[in-house]
Amino acid sequence: MNAMKKSFQSLLYYPSAILGMFVVFLLVATAVYAMVKIPYKEAIRLWRGGEDVWYQNPKFAPPAWINLFSKKKYAESFSVRTSDGTMTKKVTPGAQGSSTMEVSYAFDFSSDYYPQEMLLYLTSKYMEKQPFISLEWLTPDGRKIRIVNMALSPKQTYRFSQDEKLKTKLKTDNIITALFSDPKTGHLIKGKYQLLITGATFETDSDINVEFVLHGQVYGLAGTDQARRDLVVPLLWGAPIALAFGLIASFGTSVLTMIIAAVGTWYGGWVDELIQRLTEINIVLPFISILIMIGTFYSRSIWVILGATILLSIFTGSIKSYRSIFVQVKESMYIEAARAYGASSPRIVFLYLIPRMIPLLIPGLVSSVPAFVFLEASLALLGLGDPVLPTWGKIINDAQANGALYRGYYYWILEPATLLMLTGLGFAMLGFALDRIFNPKLREV
């Protein structure tokens, strides 16, 4: 055990190992953060959610931080609502149960591009008499534009750009552009815009709630995809899933391979022969095709794929290399001593043979993690990713399916790709250093 400890301490002499450990640590931290911040059920709800969950977001919006790198600033998307206090509502009661309410929202608009769209989601509560609202738009240069007066149904969406009456009134086809520019020059005006909503209800329990949504060109920390989903969710949740898949697959494969190789070598005879033949058969089997077939015909669940991956990866070339080492270890003096005092076969296999191989197992285990992480991503790339879980591979798949590279949505591919790459390189660097430490033959050269 002391030797093991020493070996791990010598990891600190390898800069790549330190970098690798750092990356792996960051990944684990991200995974834990993701699971704490967005519980599993919530993550699934968000990832599977449609317009009803994500209506506030624009489609195909790059992350907001690209503004840092561009001279011309893109408009940032936002949404505010009275229900959670991001927009304040002032209610003044009137006669006979009626009341008037006033909502005013002012925001600084400093981007160089017009927003894509503005929307108002109105929900109201009433028995018979519909509430009524009127909307006004105040520009930085002091103009006041009447947008609309309307009676409300319980649930209503008002799209600024689709209002035909307003188009005639402003003598324009593009309302958003008109609202944000100087009527004389036609240029965009930056500054403080204000939305003024005044409403009137005519019943005691009647109430109006407003949500104002502005779709700019950019959104949030990670941007959005074709279904308006915030990419932060799958990017965060991709970490625990990738780690779980990679670690379980590589741990399962290497440990099972080692146990089977040890059992085969120890008992010899037909057991050993069977294992060897199975390995030869398995090498001929088309691994990727079988996984694709399972995904297409049977189940795309990540756990089914994981199980099949482990099963197909046990009987491979590595069983042969383990075997060749076990054959040597089997002849060692300490095994003979164990046999002499009457140790049972299982005892020798699990307590004497296998522990000797752990130093060889660890580097292999760590270095095979990236292969499995990328395997999951590769299958997702073909559209065979888990239908429920958000993974990095699925983001790339969505991006590819929507022509992200062709249409210039680079962020959409680069974000998950960077994370996948970091994961792959992190484990590979660590595994590489471990290999050099535990394999003295490599250390000399």
Binding site: P286, S289, F374, S378, G408, E444
Partner: protein, 373 residues
């Protein structure tokens, strides 16, 4: 004690060798080896067939599809609208039966599996269920042959370049290990943890999307140029990105592995001895380092040649390269078992043949190895 034990041991061996001559030994070895390899291939193919129809599960999918298609076809045909419903039902049932017979669904699955297998083993690849070649044939052989050149071109160029360049560079590095380039290769070898299609996406992003100097994918411009020189130039232009992706993804690890391998062999005593004798570095390298590593290098090369056949499924898909890997993927999507089995059997035969031949090649290049010995 070991010294004392050696002479009698040698005698025993020579005695044994005298008992059976080289011919019978080799012949027996060949027969046993061929039999085991054949049994291996048979079992693998049977398993592949079993998986390719998921123990009958795919039959149900195909039956449902046929029913949908035939019913839809007859319901949509105005000639049948006025027909008596009972007669129409009969017609539908007949058509479904005919279609199921065409695909072979009327035969029990166990028998069908054996038929698939015996056909596959005799390389009668048969007809595809849903796919057709570009020339309109349904012959599996023609479909695969049509895609083979594309795969051979892409995989051949990238893998051969990878093999020769990494052996050559590794030899150079092993000569002066520890210098800057050597350290660089070691530092960069973890980059091979990333698969080629992944580099492919980055390459497409940079060279196709951003700079617009190379195409996004495909194998030739559309429409294809009629002039053969323009045609090959166009193919070459399309070839660059996928080939580079395939090369980058294994380049550094491949050099690193060969380099380590050469280094282990060049620290042997007989190499030191040869150097001490004052032999030129070239001779030491060729006779004392390369020669004993030859079996391993040949194995790698042989396995590489086989992988040419299977193609690069993911890379071909990302680059829309019309090769065998992508065909296999399409075949799986269309439940086209004959194509899946056809491509697997060829791979299995190639692998078995290579494994078999390698034993003899070892004996040829390495005097210490004896066939069946």
């Amino acid at each position: 004690m070991a010294v004392v034990a050696q002479p009698p041991l040698e005698k025993v061996i020579t005695k044994k060798v005298h008992h059976e001559n080289t011919f019978t030994r080799v012949a027996r070895y060949v027969v046993v080896r061929l039999l085991t390899l054949f049994v291996t291939v048979v079992i693998s193919i049977y398993l592949t067939i079993m998986i390719a129809n998921m123990g009958g599960y795919v039959d149900q999918i195909m039956r449902g599809e046929i029913r949908d298609r035939v019913t839809g076809l007859i319901a949509g045909n105005s000639a049948f609208v006025k027909m008596d419903p009972a007669v129409r039902q009969k017609l539908i049932a007949e058509r479904i039966a005919a279609e199921e017979e065409r695909i072979g669904l009327n035969i029990p699955i166990a028998i069908r599996n054996f038929r698939y297998m015996s056909n596959a083993l005799t390389l009668q690849l048969g007809r595809a269920i849903n796919m057709t070649s570009d020339s309109g044939s349904k012959q599996v052989r023609l479909i695969l042959l049509e895609r083979l050149p594309a795969t051979l071109l892409l995989m051949g160029i990238s893998q051969l370049f990878l093999f020769f360049s990494s052996v050559f560079l590794a030899l150079n590095l092993s000569r002066r290990y520890g210098n800057f380039w050597d350290k660089l290769v070691i530092a960069l070898s973890p980059t091979s943890a990333v698969p080629p299609w992944f580099y492919g996406i980055f390459l497409i992003l940079i060279f196709a999307a951003l700079f617009r100097i190379l195409p996004f994918g495909g194998m030739v411009d559309s429409p294809p140029p009629s002039n053969p020189i323009d045609y090959s130039l166009s193919v070459l232009k399309h070839l660059i990105l996928p080939a580079v992706a395939l090369i980058i993804s294994s380049f550094f690890l491949s050099i690193y592995n060969y380099r380590t391998f050469f280094l282990i062999y060049s620290s042997e005593d007989y190499v030191e001895m040869a150097k001490a004798k004052g032999l030129p570095a070239r001779d030491v390298e060729q006779r004392y380092i390369l020669r004993p590593t030859l079996p391993n290098i040949i194995t790698n090369f042989a396995l590489l040649i086989i992988t040419l056949w299977s193609g690069a499924l993911f890379t071909e898909t990302v680059f829309l390269w019309p090769g065998l890997g992508r065909t296999l993927y399409q075949a799986i999507g269309l439940y086209d078992i004959p194509i899946i089995v056809g491509s697997t059997i060829i791979y299995a035969y190639l692998l078995a043949m290579t494994v078999f031949l390698l034993d003899f090649i070892y004996a040829l290049v390495d005097p210490r190895v004896k066939v069946g010995g």
